[in-house]
């Protein structure tokens, strides 16, 4: 009885109080209207959205994505990070049934080959103009640009004559512990380099990896972005990196020179693929057509020092052809886990006192 009465009183009391609070909490109606109007006008409908996971650097993906937005009116949500990190995020999303990614953009295509299950096939509209050797047989991915591997050296500390000319030269005693190389378990491009060297050497992984780590003196840089700066500042004398990275750096600095390995190198393209379960599939297709289109490819050549994957652009004035070794992408993708675990084990073993 007492409880009921108290409850009744409380209700009678609380109701007006709550009303007052609600009234007070309201904002200025003019401002409210403005927010509503803007939100309604600029709110992005689902069919004008695209979610991109990218391992490209900001200066690469931003101009492309911004141009894509301008031309199509599609709003792009970008998640940027390392190739391995992004792919594992996509895998986690797929496992949890959370479809929140449309496109994976960037990262060597071996990484795509190793994660075939994450993607759905799509053939770009202009596929006939794209160099066939880089394409996926099942159209699971589309190549974006070709990225040859090169040597760099600090031209203030190393003379042109002394600089290594080919893969074999790297094992010269004078470079022991002085080669800048990114940790392949962390950097996708570093794995491509390792695999290229392995192929060029003709040795088995079990023979080659301990030898190479020995030559590195077990020292690696954390990410591929650190390779050039560490050569530039003299911590290392030579480095192995991607052509575009080297050219870009050389654009603004003069203390680094670049060498194409004499035995030939690999030019594994970076890729782009539609993630399975993509919530904005149509826009994802538009995006792939856009990045393989003539304009973007030209832009990539001019601005990023990248080699196009299109065969209908005359590049003879832009860059010279280089000798390439046979590089089996599918095998590289399949072997990745094995080689990287071997790498890790070897490093661990050698680090033990």
């Amino acid at each position: 009885m007492l409880h009921k009465r108290i409850l009744k009183t409380a209700k009678a009391f609380l109701l007006p109080v709550l009303c007052c609070i609600l009234l007070c909490a309201c904002d200025d109606p003019g401002r409210r209207k403005e927010i509503d109007e803007f939100s309604a006008r600029y709110g992005v409908p689902s069919d004008s959205q695209l979610i991109v996971y990218t391992s490209h650097k900001e200066e690469v993906y931003l101009p492309i994505i911004s141009e894509f937005e301008n031309r199509t009116g599609i709003w792009v949500e970008v998640h940027a990070g390392g190739t391995i990190e992004m792919l594992s995020e996509i895998r986690q999303n797929a496992e949890s049934g959370d479809n929140c990614c449309d496109i994976m953009f960037g990262g060597g295509i071996e990484a795509y080959a190793a994660n075939k299950g994450l993607f759905v096939p799509f053939a770009a509209d202009e596929k006939e103009h794209i160099a066939e050797e880089f394409c996926s047989s099942e159209d699971l991915w589309t190549p974006f640009t070709e990225l040859p591997i090169v040597f760099i050296y600090n031209n203030k500390l190393v003379s042109q004559e002394d600089a290594p000319k080919g893969w074999a030269d790297l094992f010269d005693n004078r470079w022991k512990g002085l080669i800048s190389f990114a940790d392949p378990t962390n950097s996708g491009s570093s794995y491509t380099i390792l695999n290229t060297m392995l192929l060029a050497s003709g040795q088995t992984p079990e023979e080659f990896i301990p030898r190479f780590i020995e030559q590195l003196d077990i020292k690696t840089e954390h990410s591929s972005g650190d390779v050039i700066p560490s050569v530039s500042n003299g911590k290392y004398l030579v480095g192995i990196t991607l052509e575009e990275t080297a050219l870009k750096y050389m654009d603004e600095n003069s203390d680094i020179s670049m060498i194409y390995p004499a035995e030939g190198t690999s030019a594994v393209p970076d890729g782009c693929a539609i993630v399975s379960g993509a919530p904005h599939r149509a826009n994802a297709e538009k995006f792939i057509n856009f990045i393989t289109g003539m304009e973007t490819q030209r832009y990539a050549i001019e601005q990023f020092h990248r080699r196009t994957v299109r065969n209908d652009i005359d590049t003879s004035l832009l860059y010279t052809d280089i000798p390439l070794i046979e590089y089996d992408i599918a095998q590289a993708g399949n072997d990745a886990e094995k080689i990287l675990s071997l790498w890790k084990k070897t490093v661990d073993r050698m680090e033990e006192p």
Binding site: I6, V17, I21, S39, S66, E69, N70, E77
Partner: protein
């Protein structure tokens, strides 16, 4: 909890006070804080909007000046000639070619003239195709812009329209230069005028106007930043707005800061002005802490007031409780003394009144009881040593039988029978037994009066089982024989009984209401000389005292009234044809009454 509350008035008071106080303090405090914050927020919002407007206007005026400069350049003949006509000369040999030196100077002077107002805010470039021919920027490096991409592409798609875009070459999540481009010339190659407003330029323009704790962001229509200033530099607010729009929510949803977005005319650019929340969480915390403190003080005050109040209110209640206890223990002299005139005072005087009345009633009851007992004792005394008499009579009967004197035997046996009834401690008997006693008595009297009267009894069988007080008929019959039939040879006494309000189904008498109480009427009629007027008056007198002289009759009336109440009793009448009718009125019952119940409230109170 419930019983904890229910058993203490003090706690109930405390809880009620506490509830009222907490509701007042908390809701009041909350309202005050909210009201204060709302007011403050509105004031600040007004200020923010003014500031935002001012900054927007500032940028717009720069953009307007740029537009004016573009219009000036578009209308300039020298520049047109330089960009359309003089193409061959200029493009083949970068600006300082032979013979074009004068031309270059003329071109530059025209360019500088048109861009005077805006030159300190931006660099102005003239592009032919993708290469820069003329520039007002001091940097020497030749800059190119992609033709098929980005801003030049957009400008060439929309000739004559001014394009506002970010420079793709320096794009970062932090910002990029704003390029304001229009394609003006259509020579062999397209010519563009490009105004480059760098992040630094915008910062210079606005940093003095944006408040120290505020932030400012300039973006394109996809919310890609051109410039982020002050508090907005971390990019969090921009990311939030973008996310909200992509989720089709209010763009301010979940924002800690206040965000004001303004569209800059039809340029497709957006300006975001960001101000921190009016009251940061610290201030709000302080406010709530004050409310909390008030609540604690309130609780302490409440418990104090509650204990005082309950003492004030519950003290009389305690006194009442004690007094009630006393009364329950039988102390009817309990009186409550309260020096108050409120409801408690009235209650106290009511209580006192009640106990004194109760006491009076009790005394009355005790008196009644005592009287009944006295009467009973008197009757007992009248039956002095009945056992001895009974035994003696028995002896007489046997002696008479052995000596063949049947009258004496009858006399003594009837007397013994009467005596046995008298001796029994039963106070109630069946009507049948009572009538038997009357018959025995009459047998004796017949012998005494030489058969000068006869007795007839007319009572139906079911009435014979009625229960009546003992010895109520014999005194009446005795009165008739001794006073009514004195000196008469053919006296006649008739006893009749009938029931009123009687129904077969209703078996009981004691539970039914007064009006439906079945009543047993017994009449004793004689054909004697008739009852005297004095007796009639005495019988109608309700006061039993006056009947003391006529012990028998008095006993009958008194016993009936004491047992059953004033509604019952004995009446006498003298019919016109002579004789007397004595009329007994009794409750009709076939059950032996609970003697205790008959003594009324006095007994129950004492139990």
């Amino acid at each position: 909890m419930r019983s904890w509350l229910a058993h203490s008035f003090k706690r109930q008071l405390f809880v009620v006070f506490l509830a009222v106080m907490l509701i007042l303090v908390i809701s009041g405090g909350f309202l005050t804080v909210q009201g204060f914050r709302t007011r403050l927020r509105q004031d600040y919002a007004r200020n923010d909007l003014l500031l935002d407007k001012e900054i927007t206007e500032h940028i717009m005026s720069l953009l307007d000046e740029v537009q004016e400069a573009i219009d000036g350049i578009a209308g300039d003949g020298i520049l047109r000639q330089a960009m359309e006509g003089g193409t061959g000369n200029n493009s083949s040999t970068e600006a300082a070619g032979t013979g074009s030196a004068i031309n270059t100077k003329v071109v530059y002077s025209a360019l500088y003239q048109h861009t005077q107002t805006v030159r300190n805010r931006c660099a102005v470039d003239l592009y032919l195709g993708n290469s820069r021919l003329y520039t007002t920027s001091p940097g020497a490096a030749a800059k190119s812009l992609p033709l098929d991409y980005s801003v030049l592409w957009e400008a060439s798609e929309n000739p004559g329209r001014t394009i506002y875009s970010l420079d793709p070459g320096e794009a970062s999540e932090q910002g990029a230069s704003l390029l304001i481009v229009q394609q003006l010339w259509n020579g062999t190659e397209k010519g563009y005028v490009v105004f480059r407003v760098s992040e630094e330029n915008i910062k210079d323009l606005l940093s003095s106007r944006v408040n120290a704790r505020d932030g400012f962001i300039l973006t394109n229509r996809f919310l890609r930043p051109l410039c982020q200033l002050g508090a907005a530099e971390d990019g969090e607010d921009l990311a939030l707005v973008r996310k909200n729009l992509m989720n089709r929510q209010d763009y301010t949803a979940g924002a800690k800061n206040n965000i004001y977005i303004t569209e800059l005319g039809d340029t497709g650019l957006l300006s975001l002005y960001i101000t921190p929340p009016v009251l940061d969480s610290f201030a709000v915390n302080v406010e709530y802490r004050i409310i909390f403190l008030l609540a604690i003080i309130g609780v302490i005050l409440c418990s104090l007031v509650a204990s005082r109040m309950s003492a004030w209110a519950s003290k009389p209640i305690a006194i009442f409780t004690q007094a009630m206890q006393d009364v329950r223990n039988g102390d009817l002299d309990t009186r409550i003394t309260l020096h108050r005139e409120d409801e408690f005072g009235q209650l106290a005087s009511g209580f006192n009144d009640m106990t004194s009345r109760l006491k009076e009633y009790m005394e009355e009851q005790v008196l009644t009881e005592r009287k009944l007992n006295e009467t009973r004792i008197a009757m007992m005394q009248a039956q002095l040593n009945p056992h001895f008499l009974y035994n003696t009579l028995d002896t007489i009967k046997w002696v008479a039988k052995s000596r063949q004197v049947p009258e004496v035997a009858t006399l003594s046996s009837r007397l013994a029978s009467i005596l046995r009834s008298s001796i029994s401690r039963q106070e109630f008997v069946l009507l049948e037994q009572e009538l038997k006693l009357v018959e025995n008595y009459c047998d004796i009297q017949k012998i005494r009066f030489d058969d000068s009267f006869d007795l007839s009894i007319d009572v139906s069988d079911e009435l014979l089982k009625c229960v009546v007080p003992k010895l109520i008929l014999q005194p009446i019959v005795e009165n008739s024989i001794i006073h009514g039939l004195e000196g008469q040879d053919n006296g006649h006494i008739e006893i009749k009984a009938f029931a009123e309000n009687f129904s077969e189904s209703e078996d009981t008498a004691d539970t039914a209401g007064e009006s439906n109480q079945p009543i047993l009427h017994i009449t004793v009629t004689d054909n004697g000389c008739g009852i005297s007027d004095e007796m009639l008056r005495l019988l109608e007198d309700t006061d039993p005292e006056s009947l003391t002289g006529h012990l028998g009759l008095a006993n009958v009336g008194t016993i009936i009234k004491l047992y059953h109440g004033a509604d019952y009793g004995i009446h006498a009448e003298r019919p016109a044809e002579g004789g007397t009718i004595m009329h007994l009125i009794l409750p009709y019952t076939t059950e032996l009454p609970d003697t205790a119940a008959l003594y009324g409230t006095a007994n129950t109170l004492q139990s």
